[in-house]
Amino acid sequence: MKIPPFKEINPPNKNGYWVNKKNGQVYGGAYISPLLIPNLERVEKGFKKALKDKKFIKGLEEQLLNYIGVNTPILFSEELTDLAGGKNKIGKIFLKRTDLHHDSSHKPVNAFSSCYFAKHILKVKRIITETGASMNARAVAAACAKLGLECEVHIGAVDEEKVNLNRNITELYGAKIVVVHDSTKTLLPAMASALRSWQSSPDSMYVVGSVAGPHPYPQMVRTWASIIGRIAKKQFKQITGGVPSTLFAVCGGGSNLMSMAYPLLKERTKIFAVESGGDGIKTGRHGATILGGGKMGILLGMKSKVVMHSSQIAESITEASGLDFASCGPEVAYLHDIGRIKFLSSTDLEAKKTFLMCSKKLGILPAIEACYVIHSALKEIKKRKNPRENHLIHLCGSGESNVTRMLKFKRENE
């Protein structure tokens, strides 16, 4: 597999901002205390160096191919195509099978790349990351195990108590789990705790699990993750002769969305991001940033769309722990605001029903996160009614860690 090389086609400016030329609105930047300035400067310098380092890129790609297994198939889904109305009505629906990655989601691609970068370019020996019971910690812990790096995962005491598959796997991979008892004992204090840890140990690197955080993280994470989309674009050309007519991806922070969308930004592909509508956006209990009334705000080192109560960051409410984030990456917000990415949403109930449908009809156990996108994609594709289109849905993870809750839901609904 020859991997199409990375090309920067949507760079932020030198201060890490994407600028909406129509109104001057900026997205991104680095809003951090001076304590972190040197750490970020090191990462930024290293990142620029890494992109030019052919040996580094070759070594990284080799591991992504053979360790993470990034060359996953694109499956023509006859079942989804039929559900949307059939080939003759809506064209064909394809699934990018990121669920088949090592550690079962798109997350390991950025996690491994970041850790490989930390080891070979920054020459650090220790990785810090945080988690809210999601896939990122597991993926980072695996990468650290493989690369012989120490791994420190910060997790809120409340999240930690909900013993779950990914948390336990993180421990098996040898990560040191720092339980955070501050404030709400959930994701946000865990992040603060992780950043504090990074402030006091410049000999380590902080890994962000999505295209969020201070510059250069949003750019760097989507650059690492874009290998998924670069391969997918090539595969799609081989299968269909062209680029996808539409691309659908779920959006929490935006890493799985950008991994696929980035290489298609300059193509004629219509790009749809799907947010978690929780109990329904109108109820106010949701996980949708763009469609849920998110406004420009500044958090976790970046300027982006954020859902807030007055000036405080809102709690997001969603069945999918991977979408439990009241903001989205700055590049994503920018691409929405300039009209390049359209947003849709599905409710938790729709996602849960889609989970059962996929298990039963597709023989695939999608991550609950991916169920939001499948639901919205089917709805949108039905509306488009164009038999000449080829649709691509990012199946960004596998649902092993959702089994207990989903089985309960199934039994309650039968």
């Binding site: 809003y31 001076p34 300035i37 404030s183 950043l195 504090r196 007055s310 960051i313």
Partner: protein, 269 residues
């Protein structure tokens, strides 16, 4: 430079001591108690830093995060913090400057221009924004807006920041420069004097601005050591910790008073 702030450094210089600046989160544990605490603090401090709580702070220790949570649960917001300061100021000596410390998002959402106006209205003398960044457009806007109303913008620098960063920060910094004494976070570890000295040396090469030192200063001994090298000593977690442990205690303000009284003994040069 804000005049009230200038005065305290001038006065301390004459008295051959450094200034004591006390920090608490505003409206912690509630509006009424917070007001009493601030009034009590005004008896011992040369200036008072009031934290504007933010639920997604990234640079605070557990002690301060808990204070933020208490304050938010008591209904704290930027407007109420201004109201609190205004009320306190009306009841204490006019010449004690107040500084608002906080994160950018609450200011950004409140609107930077309105924030500057409120500073003026409430007679706030200075402002610290932990996560502002010299390259951010908002940083420039804050500096400009505050300057117009004669409120000082106070910048943080860390021991790990180099000269070029310090120089850039000084361009937008007035009244004093805040040197973070440890490469950690507020309240988390002990003051690191070696780091502080290194930072001060760097600053002194390019500027004569007064220097305040904070983070990790808790005991009279800490105060004493830092006073030897800095123009102001900033004490936060030490006070907030007392609040956290005595939210229901009638003697809370007294405890803070005697804590500060003791610290004051370490201010001599």
């Amino acid at each position: 430079m804000n005049n009230d702030l200038k005065k305290i450094f001038d006065k301390a210089k004459l008295e051959k001591r450094s200034c004591l600046i006390g920090f608490v989160t505003g409206i912690d544990p509630d509006y009424k108690t917070s007001k009493k605490i601030l009034i009590e603090m005004s008896k011992y401090c040369d200036a008072i830093e009031v934290g504007n709580p933010f639920n997604t702070s990234t640079s605070d220790s557990s002690i301060i995060m808990d204070a933020n949570t208490r304050a938010l649960n008591s209904g704290a917001n930027t407007g109420k913090i201004f109201k609190l300061i205004k009320e306190v100021k009306s009841e204490i000596r006019k010449d004690i400057p107040f500084i608002i410390m906080g994160y950018l998002n609450p200011i950004y959402i409140y609107s930077i221009k309105k924030f500057a106006k409120s500073c003026k209205d409430s007679k706030v003398s200075g402002c610290i924004v932990v996560d502002s960044n010299n390259n951010a457009p908002e940083d420039k806007e804050i500096f400009t807006s505050l300057s117009k109303v004669n409120v000082s913008y106070i910048k943080l620098i860390a021991p790990t920041n180099g000269v070029s960063y310090i120089k850039k920060s000084l361009l937008r910094c007035s009244s004093f420069l805040y040197v973070v004494s440890i490469a950690g976070t507020t309240g988390s570890k002990q003051v690191n004097l070696k780091n502080v000295k290194k930072s001060i040396q760097l600053v002194r090469k390019v500027s004569k601005i007064p220097i305040g030192v904070g983070f990790g200063i808790k005991t009279k001994e800490d105060v004493s050591k830092v006073s030897k090298v800095a123009d102001a000593v900033i004490v936060g977690s030490g006070i907030v910790d007392i609040i956290g442990k005595n939210t229901k205690n009638h003697n809370l303000t007294k405890k803070i008073g005697s804590y500060l009284k003791n610290l004051k003994k370490g201010l001599k040069k």
